[in-house]
């Protein structure tokens, strides 16, 4: 099925004005929007007003895009400290939706959207889908999870904005996914790359792969490699595109790659990207790897200054062969913190630690083992059986395993496999326990 479905379908540029403007025009637009945003935030968000006052910064000091470096940074901890709505810049009556993602400890990171924010988000996602060759007459299967996670609804609204027919499948239930894909003749699918690989296997096994009409896939919410993309494209005979986003900034649709796959086009008219050395916080040179820092300049409900994504990437400003002039970020090479992405869900080891405190007053030693088996991520949590947990009855040990599993499932949103291990069997390095072994090769 070598790419046979993809021939003769010209891909359109959804918003040529914005996606193909000159670098000067883009800088001017960003400057105007940044200035307006800072002024607005200063007057409506106490958190930022105080931060600006502390460093003697006034809204008038921000006149152009170059002034962005004067602004203070925002971290995930700031969102946690102001949980749930402390950084919202509009009254409740303007907020039409919230989403949430995992925080570093027990509390979720909550984000909000106005009607205009949802429109802008749908615009960005429509750009991505158009770039992937999805058209009005196509059916798109949205197999990201629907709910507090931004994936499902983000792609859903974007696809509707484009005018395509949305099949809101949500995640899971592989058999049904295949039936719908075949019966409806879906041309595109949006899900995590690992889930599409899983689906591909099931499609191959059932023989349905010969009958489906899939042409394009928009994949994201977890890191993946070019090899994975090539594998998916070859086996399914489709074009696969990488879509990037994070709920703090908006959700999926902050950046995505075109058919040339030379980095992800960053929608810089809505989000200003900076790549900084994570230690010095000074800008990296073009092509040099650093931490991606984003300032969403059109967000109304949750405008953030220089949000530190902790994602490591590099940036290039040269126009792309596809005609777009947007800055491009490279595939991610890792993170500056210990966040894991498992089946599209963000997980911090510290969340496990916090959850284990529900089992006893002090957290036992634990180890997370992440692996990918048959294209699906697995999470195993090893917990040392210290004397206080120990029992001479198997039943009580099994109850303990069950209890830990339940507590972790509630805290993380995915079910881990809990394994009890002997005390001191988890390796300590310099007195500190190693918390994660990730056997997947994603970067």
């Amino acid at each position: 099925m070598e790419q046979s479905n993809t021939e003769g379908k010209k891909k359109m540029i959804w918003n040529e004005t914005k996606e193909c403007m000159s670098r000067d025009e883009m800088s001017n637009l960003q400057g105007v929007r940044l200035k307006k945003m800072v002024k607005n935030v200063y007057h409506s968000v106490e958190f930022y007003r105080k931060k600006m006052q502390e460093i003697g910064l006034e809204p008038g000091d921000i006149a152009s895009i170059e002034d962005i470096t004067k602004l203070p940074f925002t971290t995930k901890d700031d969102l946690r400290d102001t949980y749930p709505f402390g950084l919202f810049a509009v009254p409740d009556s303007e907020v039409v939706r919230v989403h949430a993602s995992s925080g570093t400890t027990g509390k979720a990171t909550v984000v909000g959207y106005t009607r205009r924010d949802i429109e802008n988000w749908s615009e960005c996602v429509a750009r991505v889908l158009a770039m992937a060759g999805v058209r009005k007459s196509d059916k798109i299967q949205v197999s990201y999870g629907y709910g507090l996670f931004t994936g499902g609804l983000g792609l859903h609204y974007g696809a509707e904005n484009l005018g395509a027919t949305v099949i809101p499948m949500s995640s899971g239930n592989t058999k049904k996914q295949i039936t719908m894909m075949e019966d409806f003749g879906c041309a595109a699918i949006a899900c995590t790359p690992s889930y599409l690989l899983h689906l591909t296997e099931a499609l191959e096994d059932s023989g349905a792969i010969e009958r489906i009409k899939l042409r394009a896939a928009v994949l994201g919410a977890e890191p993946w490699t070019d090899q994975m993309r090539e594998d998916i494209e070859k086996r399914l005979g489709i074009h696969a595109h990488d879509i990037y986003g994070l709920s703090e900034i908006m959700g999926p649709g902050v950046a995505a790659d075109c058919e040339y796959h030379k980095g992800l086009h960053f929608y810089a008219d809505h989000f200003i990207p900076e790549v900084l050395n994570p230690e010095t916080l000074k800008p990296c040179k073009e092509g040099e790897t650093g931490e991606l820092v984003i300032t969403p300049i059109t967000k109304e409900a949750l405008p953030l200054f220089r949000y530190r994504t902790k994602d490591l990437t590099s940036i290039a400003y040269e126009p792309c062969e596809c005609g777009r002039t947007l800055p491009r970020i490279s595939r991610f090479t890792g993170r500056t913190d210990d966040m894991l992405i498992i089946r599209g869900v963000n997980i911090f080891p510290s969340q496990v630690e916090a959850a284990l405190l529900d089992v006893s007053e002090t957290s036992p030693h634990y180890l997370l083992i992440v692996d990918r088996v048959g294209n699906l991520d697995t999470l195993e949590v090893w917990v040392e059986v210290e004397e206080r947990f120990f029992s001479d009855e198997i039943r009580k040990l099994e109850d303990l395993t069950k209890k830990i599993t339940q507590i972790l499932q509630q805290a993380l949103g995915i079910a881990p496999k809990v394994k009890l291990v002997e005390p001191r069997s988890i390796e300590r390095s310099e007195g500190k326990a190693k918390r994660v072994i990730d056997k997947r090769k994603l970067f």
Partner: protein, 141 residues
């Protein structure tokens, strides 16, 4: 008439049983009897030893999760139907586990039940005789 059983948590991997027995042997703790309960991931080694307290301490020092718990050691007559007889007596008790105590003359059982006191009372009323601490060293020469 309760006696102390020494229990150790062991992961299901090669050499663990060897290590436990080595720690006990080096510290001169004699294993009178034992049973090994296994699940797919870990095992529980339950032992009657001649010096339960020392057994626990040396295992803990060696890094094992070890604990002492109360169990009953009951003597059985050496005849057909003896096991059936005691099971009839214990029919209504909630037994967690049972294993054999290896003794020279009498076959005996180690029993862990939910309510040990009522189990003991029940056994005594039915004329079973129980071991006391002599069970620890019953095979010591």
């Amino acid at each position: 008439m309760l006696i102390k059983q020494l229990s150790v948590f062991m992961e299901n991997r090669q050499g663990r049983l060897e290590e436990v027995s080595e720690v006990l042997s080096k510290n001169d703790v004699n294993i009178t009897s034992f049973s090994l309960a296994d699940t797919s991931e870990y095992g529980l080694l339950r032992m009657i030893v001649d010096n339960p307290m020392r057994g626990r301490n040396v295992l803990k020092e060696a890094g094992f999760s070890a604990m002492l718990s109360d169990v009953i050691a009951v003597k059985l007559p050496h005849e057909v139907g003896a096991l059936n007889k005691i099971m009839k007596v214990l029919e209504k008790e909630n037994i967690e586990y049972i294993y054999v105590l290896a003794t020279g003359e009498h076959p005996s059982l180690i029993i862990k039940a939910d309510n040990l006191e009522s189990t003991i009372k029940n056994l005594k009323e039915n004329h079973f005789s129980l071991f006391g601490e002599e069970a620890y060293t019953i095979n010591n020469k």
